[in-house]
């Protein structure tokens, strides 16, 4: 009756593996959900509580900021947020200095294999230690409570990630400049200085700035275990359920973090893109 269609459709790719994977993931989630000893009924109270406390926080923010005690809340929040940012910056500088040589030692095109493997594992190991653990195990016992402990913990803790990112950037370079430098008789150090660093520096500096943004948030966390910054202040405000103070401190964190992120982001894009790319972009805009 009907003529067989000459067009043969390709067979659909098998779905079995995909479905099996989905089922496995769902099963894991289901097991976790049932094993979780969470008080689910409290979830129903959450919106009401969030509304109540939210209005309390907003009320605190809207109070006359030039009258005590709110003036003090604002000033202290800004001061401690500044301390958190200082911690994050110093930590990032320490991490940048430590991770820069490690990045070259962990890249297979700039270091021999017997160095690359242990250095990579070292970086992985550092990445697996949460910053908080560094603070309570080493920094607070040796340096005492305060922002210095936090900055060092952020510094050591960021070495793993920064070193890994740097080594990946180094492994992704173009071989041309390296060969040219080597052909003109450069020693290995000179090859790295003139063949490798100019290629990777913009990317690595962008990683540093990105890590600085991450460390601002991490720095706020470390205050909870006594490492200075705004974290400890917020912790005390929560302990006394002082919602005016909490609201003000949260607003300061959100605004300052977003501001620093925006500046850092602009600098990062400028470093990565470079003046040439920006000129090209401008040309496209102008016509």
């Amino acid at each position: 009756m009907t003529a067989p269609s000459p067009v043969v459709r390709p067979r659909r790719p098998g779905k079995l593996r995909y479905v099996a994977l989905q089922l496995a993931v769902l099963a894991v989630i289901a097991v976790c959900l049932t094993s979780l000893d969470a008080n689910w009924s409290r979830l129903l109270d959450a919106p009401a509580a969030a509304w109540t406390y939210g209005t309390l926080m907003v009320r605190g923010v809207l109070q006359n900021p030039f009258a005590e005690p709110h003036l003090d809340y604002w000033l202290t929040s800004f001061e401690l947020m500044g301390q958190s940012i200082a911690m994050a910056w110093v930590g990032t500088v320490i991490a940048a200095i430590l991770s820069f040589p490690l990045g070259f030692l962990a890249a297979s095109n700039t270091a021999p294999r017997w160095i690359v493997l242990p250095v990579r594992q070292l970086l992985n190991a550092i990445r697996a230690i949460p910053d908080v653990i560094l603070v309570i195990v080493v920094m607070v016992p040796v340096f005492g409570l305060g922002p210095m402990s936090g900055a060092l913990a952020l510094g050591v803790g960021s070495v793993g990630t920064l070193g890994k990112l740097a080594s990946e950037a180094i492994e992704g370079i173009q071989p041309g400049p390296v060969e040219a430098v080597r052909a003109s008789g450069a020693r290995p150090v000179q090859v790295i200085r003139w063949g490798v660093i100019p290629q990777v520096l913009p990317e690595i500096v962008a990683f540093w700035l990105y890590r600085f943004e991450v460390n601002i948030r991490a720095g706020a966390i470390l205050g909870v275990v006594g490492a200075g910054g705004i974290g400890a202040y917020i912790g005390r405000a929560f302990d006394s359920r002082d919602w005016d103070r909490i609201g003000i401190a949260l607003l300061v964190i959100v605004v300052v973090t977003m501001l620093v992120d925006a500046i850092s982001g602009l600098v990062r894009h400028r470093i990565i893109a470079g003046p040439v790319a920006r000129a090209a972009q401008l040309e496209r805009v102008v016509g």
């Binding site: 979780l36 406390y53 110093v90 992985n124 190991a125 697996a128 908080v132 653990i133 040796v142 909870v224």
Partner: protein
């Protein structure tokens, strides 16, 4: 002597921007260093008490290991559930925060702003908020991680959506798809590998975050760490840290392998 004289190109002058950036970062470093009383002396001078405590961490009480299993499983369960809820919510949020899938400028800008507020608060602050909202326990930790995860996954996914191949989008439009259908058939298949990779990455973050969340009463292994620290039981604490390190390291490696496979 007729050979043309090779004219060397002039050496590019170091850009003014670079030098000012370098100077600015040196100044910022000095200001920041003095703001936190930067001082490395305790590393060498305070050899009596500080290093004694540190040395206690190198003598873990292995008999304590058994008691870390239950809270560790709790932590993993919290991390899994939070990642699951977080990535489902984040997929929707990412659709709203990309120009490709949301043509309405107001919705797009509002979603972006909400996401950057979500991201600007650290996980532990979310922990404190949810402990206040729903009380001490695993539920607060889970909700805190969900709020924290949505911000991260949605931002990364929205950027991936911005960069999708426009071909399938045009095909979906030409076939008369509405926004939801268009997102379902033209966007989701393109971003799924990246989205899965971000979810795994956030899962790694969540396992680490559970340590500090415990300090603010949000359940899991962190609570146990806070308790043992308050009692100065450094040998027990040390055992917990070793276990935690092994688990985090293993999860990072497995997740790293999976993410590399997703990327290729």
């Amino acid at each position: 002597m007729t050979a043309p004289v090779a004219v060397r190109p002039p050496k590019p002058r170091p850009a003014l921007g670079m030098w000012s950036l370098l100077a600015a970062s040196v100044v910022i470093t000095i200001v920041a260093g003095s703001a936190i009383d930067f001082d490395l002396l305790p590393l060498f001078s305070d050899t009596t008490r500080g290093w004694f405590i540190v040395s206690q961490f190198f003598a873990p009480d292995w008999s304590y290991l058994g008691r870390t299993v239950a809270p560790l499983l709790d932590t993993l369960a919290i991390a899994v559930v939070a990642t699951a809820f977080g990535c489902v919510l984040a997929l929707g949020a990412a659709m709203l925060a990309s120009r490709i899938t949301t043509r309405n400028g107001a919705i797009y800008r509002t979603s972006k702003a909400v996401l950057s507020v979500l991201r600007s608060l650290p996980d532990v602050v979310w922990g404190m908020l949810f402990v206040a909202f729903v009380g001490v326990g695993a539920l607060a930790g889970m909700l805190a991680l969900v709020a924290f995860n949505v911000g991260i996954i949605a931002k990364l996914t929205a950027e991936t959506i911005d960069a999708v191949d426009p071909g399938p989008l045009e095909a979906a439009d030409a076939a008369g798809a509405n926004s939801v259908q268009r997102a379902r058939v033209a966007v989701v298949p393109q971003i799924l590998p990246n989205f899965a990779s971000y979810s795994l990455y956030v899962f790694e973050l969540n396992v680490r975050a559970s340590v500090v969340l415990g300090f603010v009463g949000a359940g899991g292994i962190g609570t146990q760490i806070a308790v043992e620290l308050a009692r100065f039981n450094y040998d027990n604490l040390s055992a917990i840290i070793v276990v935690l390190f092994v688990v985090v390291f293993a999860i990072d490696q497995i997740s790293g392998v999976l993410r590399r496979r997703l990327a290729s």
